[in-house]
Symmetry: C2
Subunit: 305 residues, 2 copies
């Protein structure tokens, strides 16, 4: 057997492409978030701390490879990808706050309110959320104003009360809700699925894709988003803080229903596999060009952290 | 002497116009924020509590009367006004949090984190911030995508780290900064002036106004924003909680420099008067049509709460 994560394999190709996109989006984020002098510099420092932290950058990767399907220049897709990542990072900063999930560690280092303070963390999240829309609305992201406005609409719907914010509200109430599987799927679809789906749809919006492409990419994104979350629940049981960089077993301890508690460990794993197959089917209409999306779908349940 | 606030006087006309616009923007906000079923409804309820609270709606008024200068249909300017008010209300919700200014009362009733809880207040602020951009990017706000994108850019710049968020960061650090008058002017320009200036610029953006109009309206807005803040500092000393609906004397107690502490009570009052005169001069280029803006400028220092 060859090393399945080495160079020359599908998984090796994918890991390399993911790392390359992460490096490129990190450069874009660094350019979009220059440090500033003056007393307000503290909030910009905290925004940089939150956004430039070396995550996997899965959402930016999805924006870029979806954009590749429509030959979107990387100069455009990387800006949209950076905006998407700003939203993701703001949500982590606010979710980690003491009044929310109360986490001290994120990706192995102190959360923003621990590294700075609570007020600065709230403002840094607000600043990143606001800047995401500023980046999308900038003519450098796309020359056509209606495309820029469509990106804003897409991101706002996915991340607002009907999407991510609403999902986080449900998640906070989850210990009292005794959600069944359908309720869990809806929660995760709002909390994480919407943003992943929008990442994929960003490529089509930038590239002028039609309704069929938008629907397929949205369905693909929701499927891998759910697979990703189920894999997270599995990691929460099987993983350890040393690997995942965060506390484990936390959801169960908080009395929240998880896919593992609802479906069992093996049931959760096979459900995630089925979702990955569905995701792969959704992007069949793009033919061989969708190979990076197929690799990303498989990655969501193979990752170890 | 006639009653200066009665009907038929400038001040009476202004109060009536302000109330009419407030009623109209309240209807628009109510339509844009329908209650939703399901467990996420709690955050929408909190967004409604924060946004539909009967403030003066000065920013929406400025959007509408600036739009009138360019014959912008009220159906458009009221949507932009509602988006602007969502940003203002989100900032109040987050500023009131225990980790920030820690206020229990706002306009005479419990703040959002008191009426709900801290986590819901954080999310409600995030939801309002996000929805503001969704409203601006919607074709119902303006048929031209590049105008919608320009509104997004304007609002994001005014409310982000280079504007309102940065101003709040400075304000939180103010007890340690010993700001002089120039520092205070910069702080207030960022914290409140930017958003008021953008409210005025919104009208010109919606109506296709040129650079001269945008500059004049921005300068007018910054001048009345600063006059408004100086008047606030004066009220903070002279007012009482029964009239202003919030605690008074708080800034001084927190060891923050205020315009009254820097300029003295009379010095602050005459500075506010000078700013109102400057504001009136800035909109001279619009002739008699700018009368509502002149009335609004005078109102900023005549109000009692």
């Amino acid at each position: 057997m060859t090393n399945m994560t080495g160079p020359g394999t599908d998984e090796g190709d994918f890991a390399r492409a993911l790392n390359q996109t992460a490096a490129a989006v990190n450069r874009t984020l660094n350019e979009l978030l220059p440090t500033v002098p003056g007393p307000e510099g503290r909030v910009v420092d905290a925004m940089r701390y939150a956004a430039l932290d070396g995550g996997k950058r899965l959402r930016p990767f999805l924006v870029c490879v979806s954009g590749d399907l429509f030959r979107v220049p990387r100069s455009q897709s990387l800006r949209a990808a950076a905006a998407m990542e700003m939203i993701h990072c703001y949500s982590l900063v606010h979710d980690d706050l003491p009044a929310m999930d109360d986490d001290d560690l994120r990706r192995g280092r102190p959360t923003v309110h621990k590294a700075y303070d609570e007020a600065t963390a709230i403002l840094a999240g607000d600043g990143l959320l606001t800047m995401a829309f500023e980046v999308l609305a900038d003519p450098a992201t796309h020359p056509d104003g209606s495309v820029r406005a469509a990106l804003v609409t897409e991101l706002a719907r996915a991340s607002g009360a009907a999407g991510m914010v609403g999902g986080q509200m449900i998640d906070l109430r989850a210990p009292d809700l005794e959600l069944d599987e359908a309720g869990l799927i809806r929660l995760q679809g709002m909390k994480t699925g919407c943003l992943i789906a929008s990442s994929c749809r960003f490529g089509a919006i930038l590239g002028g894709g039609g309704p069929e492409a938008l629907t397929a990419l949205g369905a693909y994104g929701q499927a891998i988003g759910l697979a990703f979350q189920i894999a997270d629940d599995v990691l929460d049981v099987e993983g350890s803080a040393g690997v995942t960089g965060k506390a484990t077993g936390k959801d169960a301890a908080a009395g929240k229903a998880t896919f593992v508690s609802r479906l069992g460990l093996e049931g959760a794993k096979s459900q995630a596999e089925r979702l990955v197959e569905q995701a792969v089917d959704h992007v069949g209409i793009f033919g061989p060009a969708a190979e990076p999306l197929r690799q990303a779908a498989r990655f969501t349940i193979r990752r170890r952290a």
